[in-house]
Symmetry: C2
Subunit: 119 residues, 2 copies
């Protein structure tokens, strides 16, 4: 069997739609970077590397690399919307990050799908 050495679940992938955000809080890197990094840290993980990109006239993408996993955020201020994804591997609590970002960006709703990875 070709899958013999892939018996385990390597992690969980959280795909999160943050809906009804405050558009003024998600337009620019200067407003998104620090809240996003803080929210990632709150999950109990150590940040290894990160990058952010500013789109014109507004909109932000940010990616945070943690141990064998990552956080990614894409903001669409024109739709008051954030696409967030969190790939977790090991001991960390993604829900803390989701709740924290929902509060910080004043989202009215967080829709979460959790997909197992590696199985």
């Amino acid at each position: 069997m070709i899958v013999d050495n892939l018996k385990q679940e390597f992690g969980k992938h959280y795909l999160v739609e943050l809906i009804g955000c405050d558009k003024e809080k998600i337009k620019f890197v200067k407003d998104v970077e620090e809240p996003f990094l803080q929210a990632a840290k709150k999950s109990g993980t150590k940040i290894l590397k990160y990058l952010f990109h500013q789109f014109q006239p507004y909109g932000v993408t940010g990616v945070v690399v943690i141990s064998w996993s990552h956080f990614a955020i894409h903001t669409w201020p024109e739709a008051d919307y954030i696409a967030l994804d969190i790939l977790t591997c090991g001991e960390m609590d993604a829900q803390i990050t989701i709740d924290d970002l929902k509060k910080k960006f004043r989202a009215k709703e967080a829709r979460v799908k959790v997909i197992p990875r590696g199985v």
Copy 2:
């Protein structure tokens, strides 16, 4: 309704398990970075920023930011396994990237889930 301004699908998220890879090809950044960047470009998109991280003794994480979207790769050489994810928004063909990486890293199988984002 709080979802009034989120009527559209913003993109698709491809969660890909590459199984039975050649472990010697996925241990180090020097072997993963260029094939991954080339595979991303083949989808028809423009790379804006990227970063890679080397784990010890082996294992690689790489993230490529494209227009409002991203590619991410995490390699587990000890299990001949790659977790790949591609968030697409706009005109690009993620399947080209998946097929290209499957071939380059000699994966025996590619399991793909496609999740709509923003709906």
